[in-house]
Symmetry: C2
Subunit: 411 residues, 2 copies
């Protein structure tokens, strides 16, 4: 008999009609004989409302109290869904994090799951009772206090529970029907992927993060949880389409490039003629890290004088001014000739697990982009991804070009 | 050092400004050196909203799920108050029912507290941390599920916690500044009572229930918890006025009559010439009880034929038609000559623990009412109360008359 985790996000439970639709999805699986554990988010808008109350109470709220307040949203949606399921004649009960328990670290507002005691849920499932679990929340073992997992944490709850109860699959119901080769608003020919590996899903953060929280994908990879992304707005009785996030060996026909991701929210900083000595990278990046500024691409090339180097890196465009100010303040310690920056840049990435076994994948892109007159400001590559930094004005053109040359336009 | 429980109802925590005002009340007590445990209700309107969601989910909701959903309101207000207190520099944390734990019976939606483990709260208080406890909720020991105590249950939470942690006093902050000799809207000369006994408070249900839930007063009586009713809208720094609910021996100067209560929500039913045989009362009242109809005053007098009796009783006016229909259906079994009824009646009561030691207290009232031309339809008396049933049109006149003759108009 199949054992299933079904996760429904905030938009899927926003209002009683949608909760009833969720219940119909659950009924279909129960009628098919599955043992079903459900993980729900708070009704859309609820978490924002509770966070706003905490902020109104104090700008410097105790994260443990924030957790206690904000976790209430999932408690409500879990209870309501249990009631609706019962009204449909399906045995069901709600579970809060502390009742299972889902044990987490302390860190308020961004705890990590340390372990889940799966036996109580498994016993309920075996007794033919649907378990409706409040997502996003847990309890700290030492303090016995409620914790939350950070925004989008219900995805992580779902995957972790699937692992704990040895579920055959974890279905992530969301407001889109899967993961696409790129953003369909930019490339109308973008196609839904039938399958994607966890590794690719992680690299496609800018595409995938809208669908599933990055942490939950990591967890699915580590725990080898088969995850299926589909839309809760589909007709519960109709045909099902979605994207299976799976192991590499489950991908039957492998394409070299699986998807094209992009991010416009980038700024570039280049330090010219930095002394090429040990410790210089630390002198540049430590003060930024201490200021909470995330550095993404880092490219270092020898300057034309062959004695110093040029270092280019990107930060989120919102951090651009702050990053520049910090570097200018530290100019003496770092020792560079000039600081250049641009906040109107974009990062475009091609992702594909097939890159591991195919040489020259990136080279095709560089050629195609140059033929379109798109200047590449920086390049970084990883095992299954390469990214180029370009002027933001060319974002759509670059995405469409790459989508086309890697054969993603075709079905 | 004084140990205090402070309870704040829904109107007292409705919105951030009011929560801040509550925190100022708490700060005053902490600054005075008290150990403080707080019990809060949900923000006004919140519980209604959550109940409406449950009803929208299903007309026949599982009371355990109702409990899980509805208990979230107090969780939020407790967390927010803890945050506000911390922002004022007062060490504080929120507690949910299961964290203490407050153990209750199972009965969903109307559980009763079976025991409270006071040690965790006491330890927090001794460590100079204010305990902000979610009222209205507990946890069932066997099932480990969240329970709620029924409407107004936060008063009961407060008194029970006061007993469990051996508090010196339980302060009930509400939207009125105490218990009055009668409703000031009816008798402008009504005065706030400095002190009232638990027994009187119970008998004054129609006055007192607006201030404190009846069950919580019973509990205060049984557990001998000294309870003080005061307004949360008072200036936290200003002089304090309220009503102390205490033991009889704490009442210094005893008045014979303490207050005049009334209820317009009454209907009278009289059964004429009921056979005076064993079992007849059961034949009348059992079917009503089974239908969930509460019978209040019951008066039985011999009929003028001296063989049968006349039985008069009251029900809530909302139950009048149903009660009459049940009795008419059972006419043969009961065996009565005629059923008379009136739904435009009111019950007026005088309450005073001094009645125990004073004879003829009621007689004065009967005389005064008859002088005003008010016809008495029925009379019941208890040790510390007597009630008269009159035509509803005379309610205000009767209340004012009794308020005056028992000396309650004077300060």
């Amino acid at each position: 008999m199949a054992r299933l985790v079904m996760k429904f996000g905030g938009t899927s439970v926003a209002g009683m009609e949608r909760i009833r639709n969720v219940a119909r999805h659950v009924k279909r699986e129960v009628d098919a004989g599955a043992e079903v554990a459900i993980v729900v988010s708070a009704m859309a808008g609820k978490t924002d409302e509770l966070v706003a109350l905490c902020n109104a109470a104090s700008n410097h709220y105790d994260p443990r109290e924030y957790d206690a307040v904000v976790a209430s949203g999932e408690q409500v949606s879990a209870g309501l869904l249990a009631i609706v399921l019962q009204a449909m004649g399906i045995a069901a009960r709600s579970w809060q994090g502390w009742q299972i328990p889902i044990l987490t670290t302390r860190a308020g507002g961004a705890a990590r799951i340390s372990s889940i005691e799966g036996n109580s849920i498994i016993a309920a499932l075996k007794a033919k009772e649907v378990a409706v679990i409040a997502g996003f929340q847990g309890v700290n073992e030492e303090t016995d206090r409620v914790t939350t997992l950070g925004r989008g944490g219900s995805d992580t709850s779902a995957v972790a529970i699937a692992a704990a109860i040895k579920a055959d699959r974890c279905d992530i119901y969301t407001d889109v029907d899967g993961v696409y080769t790129t953003d369909p608003r930019v490339v109308p020919k973008a196609r839904r992927l039938e399958r994607v590996t966890c590794e690719e899903m992680l690299e496609m953060a800018s595409l995938g993060a809208k669908v599933m929280q990055v942490r939950s994908v990591e967890l699915a990879m580590v725990k080898r949880v088969k995850t299926f992304v589909r839309s809760s707005f589909d007709d519960p009785a109709g045909p099902c389409s979605g994207t299976l996030i799976c192991d590499e060996e489950d991908i039957v026909e492998q394409q070299v490039v699986t998807g094209i991701a992009f991010s416009r929210d980038e700024a570039q900083i280049t330090l010219r003629r930095v002394a090429d000595r040990p410790g210089v990278a630390a002198a540049i990046f430590m003060p930024l890290a201490e200021a909470g500024i995330n550095v993404d691409m880092i490219v270092q090339v020898a300057s034309d004088d062959t004695v110093t180097t040029d270092i280019t890196f990107t930060v989120a465009s919102g951090d651009f001014d702050r990053a520049r100010a910090i570097l200018e303040k530290n100019k003496a310690q770092v020792g560079y000739a000039a600081l250049q920056g641009a906040s109107d840049v974009a990062k475009v990435s091609a992702i594909g697990i097939g890159m591991r076994s195919h040489a020259g994948v990136a080279a095709i892109a560089f050629k195609a982009l140059s033929e379109k007159g798109i200047n590449i400001r920086a390049i970084t590559t990883s095992e299954i991804k390469f990214s180029v930094l370009i002027d933001a004005a060319y974002t759509e053109l670059a995405v469409r070009t790459l989508h086309s040359i890697y054969g993603l336009d075709k079905g």
